[in-house]
Subunit: 320 residues, 2 copies
């Protein structure tokens, strides 16, 4: 972690009223970062408002500070903080955007184009890591609640310390958090392992449907419309379902087909390096990245299988 620029610390220290914004569909890092920073600023006797998109994921609603979300909105703030928002567009913002002396961007996304008057963008495992350093620089006393919020941000954005965004700094912060609160086991469990009954059943149905296309490392899973309806709709298909194929030994490419309407599939593709499946998504008007892409598909699933097979074989031969 590089030194925090003086003007960032001054901006937080010398101003009095703050509005915290985070990205749309807020995740653990956005919520955790907002709460830790908000509580930290309040400890310094600042006025803090939050403008946050609801509903918030079930696993995150244990924070008491959530009661302070969306309680008041002034016409004017000293500072509006864009926290964990890679772009201005992706921030969840009030329609009548308040005035502010400073728009301050604090974020960890590589793609952040520094759209604030003041920007502190560092490539870390989570925005919560940056918030931790800021709070220390501001001499805030980190409470157990704030430690929970920082833990939530880091733990969710790093997949419980498994992703490639983890650094020595990440674990250094964690080591310090454990001196504030000795046990994060039940929080960890809640953040990573809990599913509601329908999410669990949907996961089981996806595994049940998984087939490996003969003599290939391509896995296909299909959740048909009836199954999705039975278990409360597509909202109950948790993010990790698309990874089930990839977590099966030997699989290189996975397609998860969710029949959201009769005959209409929302398709999620995954690939392992060096394979690149995003052109399949482009072909069908979707988008994404080399290793994760998605699109809507109506038609014969066998045609889709053939596309995946072609992509695999062409790239396999090119890499041979």
């Amino acid at each position: 972690m590089k030194k925090i620029p003086d003007e960032i610390i001054e901006c937080l220290n010398e101003n009095n009223s703050f509005l915290i914004l985070i990205h749309q569909k807020p995740d653990g890092d956005a919520i955790g970062s907002a709460i830790a920073l908000g509580k930290g600023l309040k400890q310094l006797n600042k006025s803090v408002d939050y403008y946050i998109q609801v509903p918030i994921e079930e696993k995150l609603i244990f924070f008491k500070e959530i009661e302070c979300f969306n309680q008041s909105l002034k016409e004017k703030y000293d500072v509006i903080i864009f926290l964990d928002c890679s772009s201005y567009e992706f921030a969840f913002k009030p329609e009548n955007f308040p005035e502010a002396k400073v728009n301050l961007v604090i974020d960890h996304h590589k793609s952040n184009y520094c759209y604030g008057n003041l920007n502190f963008v560092e490539i870390t495992g989570a925005t919560a890591e940056i918030v931790y350093w800021l709070l220390k620089a501001l001499s805030v006393k980190i409470s157990e609640d704030m430690a929970d919020a920082i833990f939530t941000g880091i733990s969710t954005d790093t997949g419980s310390f498994q992703f490639s965004n983890v650094t020595a700094d990440t674990h250094q912060i964690l080591s310090e958090l454990y001196t504030i609160k000795p046990n994060f086991a039940s929080l960890s469990k809640m953040l990573h392992n809990q599913k509601n009954f329908c999410q669990m059943k949907m996961t089981g149905a996806a595994i049940h449907s998984m087939e490996i296309i003969t003599d290939t490392p391509i896995a296909m899973m299909v959740l048909d419309h009836e199954t999705i309806a039975n278990y409360g709709g597509a909202l109950n298909i948790s993010d990790d379902v698309a990874n089930i194929g990839q977590n099966t030994s030997g699989v290189i490419i996975t397609a998860l087909l969710k029949e959201v309407k009769d005959g209409e599939y929302r398709v999620s593709l995954r690939a392992k390096a060096p394979y690149d499946i995003h052109m399949v998504a482009l072909k069908y008007g979707g988008g994404g990245h080399e290793r994760a892409a998605g699109f809507t598909f109506c038609g014969d699933i066998d045609l889709l299988k053939k596309d995946l097979l072609d992509v695999y074989q062409t790239q396999r031969d090119a890499n041979a």
Copy 2:
């Protein structure tokens, strides 16, 4: 971590031939600790033999050092190291037990009764944590391979840093490991997420079978004999299957029934605090702890349901 006693460092420094033993059915911490310590001692020009029970779990066989396991066994060693073995009985030992000047116990289990001539037992997240401190005290240069071995031990024994055995020290060590090797993401994935096709299908079948006993927080899963046989036998039921019930929101008690023979079930029970299910296991001649117990059951599954219901209701009322 308390200071390492001088006599432990002297024992490792001043002797020349070592045999490393670990526990039966070795896990990631036993294998990782053995490899890191073995390679460290070899770096100090010591002779090191390993006596290890095979086969080793698929996910662990990537270590090159495994080629050195079970290659030679002398009649006499300076030191026999019992590593990660909570008891003498649980160690995997040669039938003709070699002579040794010292039996040195290095372990992190609370229940360890210090059965060596020399014992270094510290309650840490993993034995690999102790090995890390020992290697530093011995001034061993930790290579990337050794960092992988230590990471494997800690990451597997702490459930990827989620269990309550994690401490500030655990993350401190991790922070230092990331300065030796900058990325453990693919190792993490291999240790925690990969299942073979049959293990994955068995997991899906368990979820598919899961039912919640009406108006209770008790989950039951049954893998029948045909399903188990279809997916290559009980070996392919991974340890985490028993936790599926517990990971479902609202569930307090889970029973997983594995029909290992026609009509004969191996039952795994899990409970959340403060519930205690081990008396159900005792009733059927099994054993275990308050929150995890197991036994063999032949009979009417409805009777077992009734037992669980009784245990739950009695304890719920007692705790009310």
